[in-house]
């Protein structure tokens, strides 16, 4: 028997932004790879099930497939914190290398196996931002008593520095920040944030996004459905996903910066956390990581494997490091996004 020609996919992101658009793009790649035999019907968040319930619904077979950021079920599958939001995590290139040329995919699938879910990494995007703030962060002390909407491991790191991390539901984030119920929020990458209108209500847009390295979006397919496909079809799914990853990696980074420029024009001040702050965050992360590795052996295994792999790539680039090319006199130099804390 052959699997469904049109796979119902419950997305955790609106197709109006880059993260959800990725699923629509994947559908096109899949049609190309299969000669039009298989495509996706991407459902908006909440259309079939609420975003946080996507994993569950795919696992039970209530929904055939899902398009999701894995960090949403870190409460269920702790290692997804690594694929969805690893503080001080690697860049997309290194992460991708680990995913396919290292143990990345294998370990992820192993974590999803007990839930009867096939996982296909189908989109990667660069690290997120440090978040939207209505007050300056000049020293680590500034985090004391700061009320911030942030989830996952990054929240645990901030807790160590005395911040009060909050749970504010998606629909109320805008109001909570506007009215000052929270002083800061973390949401996503600039191309996604820009669609939320946060620039209207926040003064500072902080970088770097220390709390999350590169992120993956995955296509989740119920194993019962997946196994209906022939081996050839399965291979075509993989091809489409890799092609989609390549698309995302090419499109996203330059677009982020274009968006940041637009946000600056609207009056948002782009800042960088001072080195002292980043270093304090890093120290706190060491503590949090220790807890996490103690509590979750699978997380420990994956983290160590990832770091070993990243080491190889870093070494290569260190050997090859070159200064940026010099400009020809009179040539227009592109102006970089400038953060004030950068100096």
């Amino acid at each position: 028997a052959e699997g469904p020609k049109r796979l119902d996919v419950a997305s955790t992101f609106s197709t109006q932004n880059f993260l959800g658009e990725g699923a629509v793009h994947l559908s096109k790649e899949l049609e190309t790879a299969t000669g039009g035999a298989v495509s996706l019907r991407v459902h908006e968040p909440g259309d079939l099930v609420p975003p946080f319930e996507v994993f569950n619904a795919v696992s039970s077979g209530a929904v055939q497939a899902g398009w999701a950021w894995p960090g949403y079920w870190a409460g269920t599958v702790p290692i997804t914190n690594l694929y969805g939001g690893l503080p001080f995590g690697p860049n997309p290139e290194a992460f991708m290398s680990w995913m396919w040329a290292g143990e990345g995919l294998e370990l992820l699938q192993k974590a999803y196996d007990p839930y009867n879910v096939k996982v296909l990494p189908c989109l990667i995007y660069p690290q997120e931002t440090g978040g939207w703030y209505n007050q300056e962060i000049n020293t680590p002390e500034d985090f004391k008593g700061l009320s911030m909407r942030i989830s996952g491991l990054g929240a645990k790191v901030l807790n160590k520095l005395g911040a009060s991390t909050q749970l504010v539901p998606g629909n109320e984030i805008y109001l909570a920040l506007e009215r000052g119920r929270v002083d800061a929020i973390e949401f996503s990458a600039p191309i996604v944030d820009a669609s939320m209108g946060f620039e209207e209500i926040a003064k500072y847009y902080y970088f770097p996004g220390w709390h999350q390295g590169a992120n993956w979006n995955n296509l989740l397919i119920n194993k019962g459905v997946w196994d209906q496909y022939s081996d050839e079809r399965k291979a075509q799914f993989e091809t489409a996903c890799r092609s989609n990853v390549q698309w995302a990696m090419s499109v996203a980074p330059p677009e982020q910066v274009r968006v940041i420029h637009q946000l600056e024009e609207k009056g948002v001040q782009v800042r960088r956390f001072p080195d002292e702050v980043v270093s304090a965050l890093q120290d706190a992360w060491v503590e949090v990581r220790q807890d996490e590795m103690q509590k979750h052996p699978a997380f420990k295994e994956a983290y160590e494997s990832l770091m070993k792999h990243v080491q190889l790539i870093d070494e290569w680039y260190e050997l090859q490091a070159l200064p940026a090319p010099k400009a020809i006199q009179g040539e227009n130099q592109p102006t970089p996004v400038k953060g004030e804390g950068d100096a």
Binding site: S14, T15, Q16, E44, P45, G46, D47, L48, V49, P50, P51, F52, E53, N56, A57, S60, G61, A62, V63, L167, V168, P169, N171, E172, Y174, L175, A176, E178, R179, G180, R181, S195, M196, G197, E200, I201
Partner: protein
């Protein structure tokens, strides 16, 4: 629409027909929605595991949905204010303030509705609270039920339009327009509706005095406290309460959901201060809160089952085809979309309409030329506000208006739904008038955000 259309979407159409037929049997709407969802899943041969989505939807959409917590809290606040007599005294004193203006009580209710609208965006909560406060007072004063129910349901639903409004936040992110601009844009239309209500109330009170009788002069005079003093005495508590609710939102102390709890605790304190809080009152309020909120939330639970099956049977494609399959001009298309949303409002929740319809029609709307030099953001914001007014109206339209059900729910069977249906007709006409005004004069929407 061709014959093909009807055969392709036969089950989706049958579902709507069954719903409309079913509600007239008088069986509870919440259970009818849920049960029909299950029944049509079997009729439509939908794989049973698919219904597993319903449990997830109930959990994510109701239980885990933090915003819904405001419902029992606002209901409790309303009950406490009603039972402690605080609300009654406030309304009576407000009436003295309005002198011998005919319809003064109804106008007070409308104004109270507008004020409450600024603190909550949850229809069920504000309609129920306003109903608990005002309905007993209005009926006691001899108001016609048609008059009382209409003004309560209509003013109670203003909350979803007047900012802060969660509906506008969601629309902003779906349509990719500024939420701040949407808030500003919604303000004038929201107030306009409030004004239209009041004008209507004045007219009725003048033309048909027996519909909106004045308070018994003896009753008003019985209160010999000089008016300014009485005002201070009776307004102080409730005003402090409203200021606490709105103020805690504005000052960033609380989100709108949390502000509901502040209001609930405040109402307890008012009752305590008025020495009308005893054990039986508290127990009664708590129990009725539980039943009334469950009544509201089970309609949402039933609807979530109905709609997921409706969509699975092609209901959303049916809607899409109805919009795109016509060859209408800009205004024709706009009217069609408005009519469609209006009808969908009969049986879907605003969240689902926003998610289903807006992404479908936004690209279409963006390409249309309505004159006025509208384009880009301004065009989308104008459109979003039109949709918002329309959705607000759909809460009020018989036979399937949530606001009407919630109001019905608190009348304990003493007012029939027929009376409530009749009561709302003039207000729906006023809503449509407001909508048409906003279509004809986009400045009403776009002037405040500075887009014109």
């Amino acid at each position: 629409m061709s014959a093909d259309f009807f055969s392709e979407y036969a089950l989706a159409i049958a579902m709507v027909v069954a719903l409309l037929a079913g509600i007239f049997t008088g069986y509870p709407v919440a259970f009818l929605l849920g049960g029909l969802g299950i029944a049509f899943a079997f009729i439509g041969d939908i794989p049973i595991p698919f219904l597993g989505t319903v449990g997830s939807r109930i959990f994510g959409g109701v239980i885990e949905n933090w915003l819904m917590i405001a419902i029992p809290l606002f209901v409790f606040m309303g009950l406490m204010l009603e039972r402690s007599g605080v609300a009654k005294r406030l309304l009576l004193t407000l009436q003295r303030l309005f002198g011998r203006t005919p319809g003064g009580l109804a106008i007070s209710v409308a104004i109270l509705g507008v004020v409450m609208a600024a603190s909550t965006g949850i229809i069920g909560a504000s309609v129920v609270m306003l109903g608990l406060l005002a309905l007993p007072v209005m009926m006691k004063q001899g108001y016609r039920a048609e008059m009382a129910c209409g003004v309560i349901a209509a003013s109670g639903t203003l909350g979803i339009l007047i900012p802060p409004s969660i509906m506008l936040v969601l629309m902003g992110s779906i349509l990719q327009v500024s939420v701040g601009a949407l808030f500003k844009a919604a303000l004038l239309p929201g107030l306009l509706l409030g004004v239209l209500y009041i004008v209507y109330l004045l007219a009725v009170a003048w033309l048909k005095p027996d519909w909106a009788p004045l308070a018994d002069p003896d009753a008003l005079d019985a209160d010999t406290t000089p008016l300014p003093l009485a005002l201070v005495r009776d307004l102080l508590g409730p005003v402090v309460l409203i200021v606490a609710v709105l103020g805690s939102i504005m000052a960033g102390i609380a989100t709108p959901t949390e502000a509901a709890a502040i209001g609930a605790v405040g109402s307890l304190m008012l009752a305590l201060a008025a020495r009308s809080l005893d054990w039986a009152t508290l127990r009664g309020a708590v129990r009725e809160t539980s039943r009334t909120s469950a009544m509201i939330l089970f309609v949402v639970i039933g609807a979530t089952c109905f709609s997921v099956v409706f969509k699975r049977l092609g209901g959303d494609y049916m809607i899409e085809e109805m919009i795109t399959g016509t060859g209408l001009g800009p205004y024709g298309l706009l009217l069609l979309i408005m009519a469609l949303i209006f009808v969908l409002g009969f049986f879907l929740e605003w969240i689902e309409i926003s998610f289903v319809v807006l992404p479908l029609v936004a690209p279409v709307i963006e390409l249309l030329d309505f004159g006025y030099g509208l384009s880009g953001q301004a065009l989308l914001i104008w459109f979003a506000i039109l949709v918002a007014i329309n959705l607000q109206t759909s809460f009020l339209t018989p036979p399937f208006g949530y606001a009407l059900f919630y109001l019905k729910g608190i009348t304990e069977g003493q007012i029939g739904i027929g009376t409530i249906y009749r009561s709302i007709i003039p207000f729906v006409l006023l809503q449509i008038t407001g909508l048409v005004l906003c279509i004809v004069f986009p400045a009403l929407v776009l002037w405040l955000p500075g887009l014109l």
